[in-house]
Amino acid sequence: MPDVAIQAEGLTKWFGVGEARTVAVRGVTFEARCGEMVYVVGPSGSGKTTLLSMISGILRPNEGTVRLQGIDVWSLPENRIADLRLNTVGFVFQDYHLFPRLTTAENVAVPLVLQRHAWNAALAEAKRCLALVGLGNRVDLRPNKLSGGEQQRVAIARAIVSKPDILVLDEPTASLDGDTGRKIIEFVRKDILNDKRCILVVTHDERIFECADRIARMEDGCITGIAAGEAHA
């Protein structure tokens, strides 16, 4: 397995045509290695989410390439890209996007079901994963019965249940109070990150910077600098 988990080169993305064209990301080159927790920070509209989407195989760039674990993502057909996302990348969305009509265990089991695992086995694995994030006693509850922090943990459990090599967290603390947000990130850092997994976090919450190995700052669609984070050994 290559040491470099994410390799993005010359990524450019614009929206609209003609005079309405807006360049969201301009020729960004970026790299993240296994075992690293990398933050992408910057003000609103700086292109963080667009960059994250291109890197994770969700948004096709206009220019540039993305390699995840050595695979050139955007050279693949759509179905293969979907497979790559399913098997290699775990997502934690800003608003969690949990299914309100499913129990927490069923929510967590969704990626495994999509990976074509048997329902009961997927559910059992999801429960194990929920126990890992400290929600072993919440497996049969619906998301609306959980606190914001607990919902975030369910989202994290869903992201890691298929054991992806790359974990992508979009504003993971945006909906949480400071203390809960810090605990969540510390949990991710301590219990989810390992030497074979890369975690990419998009945030503007400076309170959690202490958990980053490296921090890439974005402005106007460009990375203006990459600094070592406080957690960098």
Binding site: R85, L86, F91, F99, V113, R116, A121, R158, K196
Partner: protein, 403 residues
């Protein structure tokens, strides 16, 4: 923390279902779709109510028509003749146009005819013992063969040859003759009649009047007749291959020979296209369809819209377009079939209830009604899901990130 890391792709030895990868994927995804649907009780119930009501209306309308048509063709189906000879202008069995005797003779002399017998069908006015009058259908069976006789539940058929012998049909209209027992007497046109048998038939008539069977000769004596008296000629062909030749031979005489099914179709078509019943039926069925489509289409679309971000999240996680389409089709199909079943149950229940009060309530659920309603329900499901599918396929997972 022990976290078994792995290579790219599906890496852990989690068990798969024995029906194979594709089946497991579909089953798991459909299970998610099922839970998303039924756990949203409000919308699920609204969808069910819409489809159920629509199916109920469609089946109710078409079953009423089927029931009426069954009754309208009762004489034809009860008689059981393979081929009927009739005047071309006859539109339904109750409005027979008498034919000259030579038609019967010609039919008997045709090649391919095993035998041919006359049938009399007319309406008389029976004077009951309490002095009241009741209209009755009188069927006169061929004196020699009694071809087309009903199944008796009391009495002996040969007693029909006895003096003034009549067989009464015990159906929903039987009560209108004051439940006559064996030996009961009545009058028709000052002719005495005696009940010598009680019969049952598969279907009773459309117009709500009791039916009496007697011999052909007694029928024409009892009921005032025109110059000709043969209402129909019933033909037993040698075999099915003979029927076209018989038809052609009868056509040369200026009359019409129809198989039983063709005669029933002729009656049905007359009611359907010449009486306005068909247009009313079509309108009501179309309205039922539109009601079902609008309720279920709108509810299903709003259900999909409400879950659009979740479908987007699924797409972002790695679900493929066709998997989402499966989910939507399954949800639409499940709701439609459940509503279809409930609609049929409701309609059947209502018919059973109605028959408790109105024994001759003309409504019958046929396979054809069920097929028609199923087809229309599937169209409702297809249209409802088509709109939802288009919406879901268009959603970009990137929108989920943007929030």
């Amino acid at each position: 923390m022990p976290w078994p890391l792995s290579r790219r792709g599906v890496r852990r030895p989690l068990p798969r279902t024995p029906i194979g990868i594709w089946g497991a994927a579909v089953l798991g995804i459909l299970k998610i779709a099922y839970k998303l649907l039924v756990n949203d009780r409000g919308k699920f119930i609204a969808l069910l109510v819409g489809i159920t009501f629509s199916v109920f209306l469609m089946i109710q309308m078409t079953s009423m028509f089927s029931g009426m048509m069954k009754k309208a063709s009762a004489t034809v189906t009860n008689t059981g003749a393979k081929v009927w000879i009739l005047d071309r202008a006859v539109t339904n069995v109750a409005a027979s146009i008498p034919m000259p005797d030579y038609v019967l003779d010609a039919a008997r002399s045709m090649k391919g005819v095993k035998y041919a017998v006359p049938l009399y069908s007319g309406v008389g006015l029976a004077k009951l013992q309490d002095g009241t009058y009741q209209a009755v259908t009188v069927i006169g069976l061929d004196d020699t063969s009694l071809f087309g006789r009903p199944e008796l539940i009391a009495g002996k058929i040969e007693d029909i040859y006895g003096e003034n012998g009549f067989v009464v049909v015990k159906d929903e209209e039987y009560v209108k003759l004051h439940n006559p027992a064996m030996g009961s007497e009545f009058e028709i046109n000052d002719h005495r009649g005696v009940i010598v048998g009680i019969a049952k038939v598969p279907a009773s008539g459309l117009f709500g009047i009791p039916t009496l069977y007697t011999t052909y000769s007694r029928a024409v004596q009892t009921i005032p007749s025109m110059r000709f008296t043969v209402s129909y000629v019933l033909v037993e062909p040698v075999d099915a291959q003979s029927i076209p030749a018989i038809k052609a031979g009868i056509a040369k005489l200026g009359y019409e020979a129809l198989t039983e099914a063709e005669f029933v179709d002729k009656i049905t078509n007359w009611y359907m296209f010449r009486t306005g019943m068909g247009m009313n039926l079509l309108l009501m069925t179309a309205i039922s369809f539109v009601v079902g489509l609008s309720i279920s289409g709108q509810t299903f679309y709003s259900f999909t819209l409400e879950n659009l971000d979740k479908f987007g999240a699924l797409k972002a996680i790695g679900a493929k377009g066709h998997e989402l389409v499966w989910m939507i089709l399954f949800q639409a199909g499940l709701t439609s079939l459940a509503g279809y079943g409930l609609g049929i149950g409701l309609c059947a229940g209502l018919i059973a209830l109605a028959r408790l009060r109105l024994p001759d309530y003309a409504s019958i659920i046929t396979y054809r009604n069920l097929e028609l309603a199923l087809g229309m329900v599937l169209v409702i499901a297809a249209i409802s899901s088509l709109v939802a599918v288009r919406r879901v396929l268009r959603i970009e997972p990137f929108e989920i990130f943007r929030g």
